[in-house]
């Protein structure tokens, strides 16, 4: 999978990350998000299913996206946050602002 995939259908957009959301990815992702917002996206769902690390640059980008969406009455959702990332966002009081939901642990086939 690429580092990220952005899909958009009218006002709904999704961002599937292929790995970590850190300083090295932020400039490229920011450009992609800007384009998506300019095309009229009002809800953006970030899927962190494959993301093991989130640093302050990545957090800054998520907040900037949330701030931009809020200006047009839209919102961000961050889904599938692993335990470490969920705790990080929780400790920074950001789970509400970013509408974060945690990854659900997969049950083993044996139950």
């Amino acid at each position: 999978m690429d580092t990220f995939v952005i899909e958009q259908k009218e006002e709904q957009g999704s961002v599937r990350l292929g790995g970590d959301l850190t300083a090295i990815l932020v400039p490229e992702l920011r450009a992609g998000l800007k384009e998506t917002l300019n095309k009229g996206a009002r809800e953006l769902v970030f899927d962190l299913n494959r993301t093991a690390m989130l640093d302050s640059s990545g957090i800054g980008l998520l907040i900037a996206t949330a701030n931009s969406l809020a200006l047009s009455g839209g919102r961000i959702k961050v889904t599938n946050a692993g335990p470490d990332i969920f705790r990080l966002l929780q400790s920074m009081r950001l789970t509400g602002r970013l509408n974060v939901t945690a990854k659900v642990a997969q049950e083993s086939p044996d139950g």
Binding site: T22, A23, S56, I59, G60, I63, N67, L88, M92, L94
Partner: protein
């Protein structure tokens, strides 16, 4: 009490230029070292702290001047993991920065807050261009 890092089964020092790509490689090296040592439970904390220290050193300390370098010392003791990051900048008013509270809408400036959230102990030199962080090896 000062954490004991006298016995260090695994340690290294690496100097990088002020490039995000080099910081990324170094952080992945730290992740690999911790996972290889069976410390997956603290790997996220230590790697995150290393990322924040390196980002601050590159962006604020060295002002992204690629001719200036950043040195990271990583030391794994029996009880503690120690990170030390030094840049070539003039330093900063770290006492004031540690007291600063940020709005949840702020898009930057969270590095120093993360230090106190994820490290058991944080120390700076007088000018503020060298930081030392200690993280307990005890898995949470």
């Amino acid at each position: 009490m000062k954490p004991d890092c006298d016995r260090i089964p695994l340690s290294f020092t690496q100097k990088i230029s002020s490039r995000v790509e080099e910081a990324e490689s170094l952080c992945l090296r730290i992740r690999g070292a911790l996972v290889a040592a069976g410390l997956r439970g603290v790997a996220f904390r230590v790697e995150l702290l290393a990322r924040e220290c390196l980002a601050n050193a590159i962006n604020h300390g060295n002002r992204r001047n690629v001719d200036k370098s950043v040195e990271l010392r990583f030391a794994m003791g029996r009880k503690w993991i120690r990170l030390e990051v030094t840049d070539e900048g003039p330093g900063f008013a770290w006492r004031r920065e540690q007291r600063r509270k940020r709005s949840t809408a702020a898009t930057s400036g969270r590095g120093v807050e993360l230090y106190s959230l994820y490290a058991e102990r944080v120390g700076f030199n007088r000018s503020g261009n060298r930081i030392r962080l200690w993280v307990s090896r005890k898995q949470i």
